[in-house]
């Protein structure tokens, strides 16, 4: 995520330690003003999000193609998933999306305490998502032999290509989970920096960037959930 924070570090100047970091922030030397820098960072992040969307589009495309090729296998595979875990995870992610949006709002209004609370909730939601995914979905399914491709070891399969379904399932949710882990690292970094007072009404580019990234992770799940759990 080097793309987000390209700013100059705030300079330690004698006498102004009391002033929060975000007020001491000066924009990069090659920028004319902080607004330009902020706008540029935002375009940069949106471009990055575009790459994320296209990365996932590969999995959506594979899903669509195999759905057309082996509709029965995909539907049968879908029936092994429990919508309740998927639905719970959707709710968890939606809440985390809301809290990070609130955290940005708090920072914009210099409500540092609430920003911290919201960021913590976001991080916990991300962790909850992963725990649910791992403990209630990946591990039971994997141990039953519902595995991708040639690793497939589930003797009660109904259709010839259920292994392809599991390939799609594991790879697409796996890439998504990797992004969740990445998001957790970034949010943890935000919490740390926020504790140092790095973000405030005039400077919150990094928070805005991570927020947008986190929303796209949510957005991808919003589509993965019905495709994997509900559509049949």
């Amino acid at each position: 995520m080097a793309s987000i924070d390209t700013h100059q570090p705030a300079l330690p100047e004698p006498g102004n330690e009391k002033v929060p970091l975000w007020q001491r922030y000066t924009h990069g030397h090659h920028w004319r003003n902080a607004d330009d820098e902020f706008d540029a960072a935002k375009i940069g992040i949106w471009l990055f999000l575009a790459t994320e969307v296209l990365l996932f589009s590969g999995m959506f495309c594979a899903y669509a193609i195999f759905r057309m090729m082996y509709p029965e296998s995909i539907a049968a595979g879908s029936s092994y998933l429990d919508w309740r875990w998927g639905g719970l995870n959707t709710v968890v992610l939606l809440i985390s999306s809301f809290t990070i949006a609130m955290a940005i709002r708090n920072v914009q209004l210099n409500q540092q305490f609430w920003a911290r609370i919201n960021l913590l909730i976001t991080w916990l939601c991300a962790a909850a998502f992963l725990v649910i995914k791992l403990v209630f979905e990946y591990i039971p399914k994997w141990s039953e032999g519902k595995r991708p491709g040639s690793l497939f070891d589930y003797p009660f399969a109904q259709h010839a290509h259920e292994n392809v379904w599991w390939s799609i399932y594991y790879v697409s949710t796996g890439i998504h989970a990797t992004h969740v882990i990445g998001g957790m690292v970034l949010i943890a970094w935000l919490i740390y920096r926020q504790g140092k007072g790095a973000y405030g009404p005039t400077h919150y580019t990094m928070m805005e960037g991570v927020g947008l990234y986190w929303h796209i992770v949510d957005l991808v799940w919003i589509f993965l959930f019905p495709l994997l759990y509900l559509v049949h």
């Binding site: 080097a2 990069g28 030397h29 471009l47 790459t51 991708p148 392809v164």
Partner: protein, 591 residues
């Protein structure tokens, strides 16, 4: 990291008056190296990219020569069971080898050539080296939007390339640079294949970083007064390129990821034995790899537009048409990938893709027409960059026109996967991109390194490259139409003569590059000092010193004239006495 100037004035102008050239070593040898390795200066990163891609070009070129030498004679096993033919160049004296082993050696070198040239040379070649150096200068900016990301891009590039080199050192890969499944998932050499796929995957990030940086820089860091249509056409081209890089590269990312999973875990998405579909891989692959051929050629077109205008002292004809055709090519490039798969896809898709393919021919043709029209009533010099522009127009026209029978369905059924395709894309990629790269390199060399090169040497190199290139690849059109399939390690006797001409041509081509290398080395160490504006350019990079100072400009430039107003403006650094302007006609010329 440069120091932060605390005395910002309203213009954001730091007033870098006492700065020296960006090339000046400042602290001593080790500190200078450290300074370069940690620099966020786009110029230094551009130069580092330049040397990195030229090194990769050297590696890929050596592989290409090895291929051509192998193809000098057909490989045969004689009555006594011994291998004969030039393929022996790959083996030790007296080694017993089978025809298949000879083929495998060829295939590995062939893949090495393709993968290095595509992923490590030609995609980053122009945007990351010349683009990095000149995009901010031409925009009048102090740096790219995200300088640290820019440095990261270089390191990612080097890291990815190391994977590629590692793969070659481990024995090489024989998948072909296209990694078609199921061959690539089942061929021998697990660690090498994975290393090479990872290399391409990692290099994708470098490409994305560069493209993202350029888009934002173009949007937000244009000099005051520079509207979108005051930008040099090179910027338009690099901007369009960057859009493709950002939008297409992630797809190859997920494709290569799936390929690695396929290879390691046999997940079966591309493996027909497990229910997957190998043609799906081709779609995934070409969704990226077709747009990416425009990543290769668009910046070259940008260079040609700029170099041609400056060396003809001529306002480019149809500025907006060229600018918009760059964007149009970028957009249409996403619609035509299926023409790489006419023999493997269904009839309906083939029809649609063939139809769409012809759309991309139109903006390309428009550009060529505009360049030719720009020559009209110009003041044409015959400097090395301009010679390369002529070479480009000649070779790229052939490359473009030979694309027509490949886009046409019935003729493509014959020409697909033949040497005709090989010749066609070398005419576009080499005759287009590499030739334009050389044009740009000669054109901007004085600005980059502060030294002039030898014009005579440059012209000699250009002539050798031009002759050698045509000998090498024009013959391959005939080989292809007569039935020589590509990626063949050996061939039937009828093709021997044409292959030999091609091989001898490649040696002349290599000689041309050796001449250029000598000329550049001579220039670096013994060349005469370059003036600020040797060619009389009007774009902003000629307004700063040669070589540029660390912060590019002493004061932030404010644009007062367009990039091609040669009729109206005396170029910076020129005496009006040496630069006669034409009589102004009433009304002037606006585009």
């Amino acid at each position: 990291m440069t120091t932060v100037d605390r005395n910002l004035d309203q213009l954001g102008d730091h007033g870098h008056h006492d700065e020296g050239s960006y090339l000046n070593p400042k602290y001593g040898p080790i500190a200078t190296v450290w300074d370069w390795m940690t620099t966020v200066d786009h110029k230094k990163i551009g130069v580092m990219y330049l040397f990195a891609v030229l090194f990769m070009f050297f590696l890929g070129g050596v592989a290409a020569l090895a291929l051509r030498i192998e193809l000098l004679e057909p490989t045969r096993i004689d009555e006594t069971g011994n291998l004969t033919g030039a393929a022996l160049a790959f083996f030790a004296e007296g080694e017993t080898v089978s025809q298949a082993a000879a083929g495998q050696a060829y295939n590995r070198v062939m893949t090495m050539h393709g993968a290095i040239m595509v992923f490590m040379f030609i995609i980053p070649a122009i945007p990351a080296s010349l683009g990095n150096f000149f995009l901010p200068l031409m925009l009048g900016a102090k740096d790219v939007a995200f300088p640290r990301l820019n440095l990261a891009s270089w390191y990612v590039y080097v890291f990815g390339s190391l994977f590629g080199v590692f793969s070659i050192l481990m024995g090489g890969v024989d998948t072909g640079w296209t990694f078609y499944t199921p061959y690539s998932t089942t061929t021998t050499g697990q660690p090498q294949v994975i290393a090479m796929v990872l290399a391409a995957f990692i290099l994708g990030f470098s490409s994305i970083f560069t493209g993202l940086n350029f888009i934002v820089t173009t949007h937000k860091l244009r000099a005051p007064g520079m509207g979108w249509f005051d930008m040099p056409l090179f910027i338009w081209a690099v901007y369009s390129t960057s859009i493709i890089q950002v939008l297409a590269t992630p797809v190859i990312g997920v494709t290569l990821l799936l390929l690695i999973f396929e290879r390691v875990l046999q997940i079966g998405i591309f493996d027909p034995g497990l229910g997957g579909d190998p043609v799906l891989f081709q779609h995934f692959f070409w969704f990226y790899s077709h747009p990416v051929v425009y990543v290769m050629i668009l910046p070259a077109m940008g260079i040609i537009s700029d170099v041609l205008a400056i060396h003809c002292r001529k306002r480019i004809f149809g500025y907006r048409a060229i600018a918009f055709s760059s964007l149009a090519i970028a957009a249409i490039s996403f619609l035509v990938w299926g023409h790489h798969m006419f023999t493997s896809q269904g009839e309906l898709a083939a029809m649609v893709f063939s139809f769409l393919t012809f759309f991309v021919a139109i903006p390309t043709a428009v550009k060529v027409f505009n360049w030719i029209a720009s020559l009209y009533k110009g003041s044409i010099t015959f400097t090395t960059p301009m010679l390369y522009v002529f070479a480009f127009l000649f070779l790229f026209s052939i490359g473009g026109l030979t694309g027509l029978p490949l886009g046409t369905l019935s003729t493509d059924l014959h020409l697909h996967d033949s040497y005709f395709v090989v010749a066609h894309f070398h005419y576009v990629m080499f005759g287009g991109t590499v030739i334009a790269f050389l044009a740009g390199l000669h054109h901007w060399w004085p600005k980059m390194f502060g030294r002039m090169y030898s014009e005579k040497g440059g012209a000699l190199g250009c002539a050798l490259v031009f002759i050698g290139f045509n000998m090498t690849f024009f013959t391959q059109f005939f080989l292809g139409t007569q039935g020589m399939p590509r990626r063949y390690a050996s061939y039937v006797d009828e093709f021997t003569l044409l292959h030999q001409i091609s091989t001898y041509g490649s040696l002349i081509l290599a000689l041309g590059f050796v001449v250029h290398l000598v000329v550049f080395l001579h220039s670096l160490f013994l060349g005469e000092k370059a003036p600020q504006n040797p060619w009389g350019g009007l774009t902003l990079e000629w307004e700063t010193e040669t070589p540029p100072i660390e912060h590019n400009f002493h004061h932030e430039p404010v644009l007062t004239h367009g990039p091609y107003d040669f009729d109206e403006v005396v170029p910076p650094g020129w005496d009006p006495k040496d630069y006669p302007l034409p009589e102004q006609t009433p009304g002037g010329h606006k585009h």
